[in-house]
Symmetry: C2
Subunit: 111 residues, 2 copies
C-alpha cells in the first residue's frame, strides 16, 4: 500500500492532527497500531498519511462529516483520546477541513 492515500475525487474531508509527544509515552505504539486497524474498518474512512519528526502529522481522509463524528465517538477511540490528552501528548491541534481540489504526480517506476 502506498503511504500516499489514494483518495477519490473531491469533495471529501481531511482531519489534520498535528502533535508534540510527551517524554513518557508508555503504551503509545501499541494503541496507535490498534487505532490504525480500527479506523480502517470505519464507514466513510478513505485513507490516511502519517509522519513524525520534531512534530507528528497524521492526516486522515473521510467521505463526510458524519463519518468523522462517528469515529470521534467510537468507544475504543475515546479511550485512546483520553490517554492522548492525559499522557501521550504535550500539545496538539486538530483541524477539520473540506478538501476542494487535489492533484497528483506518480512517476512510473516499472520502466
Amino acid at each position: 500500500m502506498s503511504p500516499i492515500a489514494a483518495t477519490p475525487e473531491p469533495p471529501y474531508y481531511a482531519v489534520i492532527f498535528t502533535s508534540l509527544k510527551s517524554p513518557g509515552d508508555e503504551g503509545y505504539a501499541q494503541m496507535a497500531e490498534r487505532m490504525i486497524e480500527r479506523v480502517s474498518q470505519q464507514e466513510g474512512f478513505l485513507g490516511f498519511e502519517s509522519a513524525r519528526e520534531e512534530v507528528g502529522i497524521t492526516v486522515s481522509y473521510w467521505r463526510d462529516l458524519d463519518s468523522i463524528e462517528r469515529w470521534k465517538a467510537d468507544l475504543e477511540h475515546q479511550e485512546a483520546q483520553q490517554m492522548g490528552r492525559s499522557q501521550w501528548y504535550q500539545a496538539y491541534t486538530i483541524r477539520i477541513a473540506r478538501v476542494e481540489r487535489a492533484y497528483s504526480l506518480h512517476k512510473d517506476t516499472t520502466r
Copy 2:
C-alpha cells in the same frame, strides 16, 4: 517557534502536500530552506507544519484561495515546483482544503 502552527479561528485554508522523494535529490535541502524563507513573507501565509518519515507531509495554512494562487504563481516557487516534478519527487499529492473547525491542547510546561 512551535512546530505546530498558531493559526487564527477558522475558516482558513490548508494545502496538504504529501510526497515520496526520489533517490537522487541534489539541491533539495537548500531549495526547501529557501522556499520556507520565501513563503513566510507571502501575503496571506499563516504558518506551516512539516515532517518526513517514509512519506513527507507539509501542511501550509493560508488566509484565502487567492493567497494560495499567488504563491503557486511565484516565479522562484515555480522553479522549485519544476525541479520537484522532474527530479526530487517520485510521487506526490497536493490537496487544497478549507479548514472549518480546529481545536488544540497545550499543556503548561513552565510549572
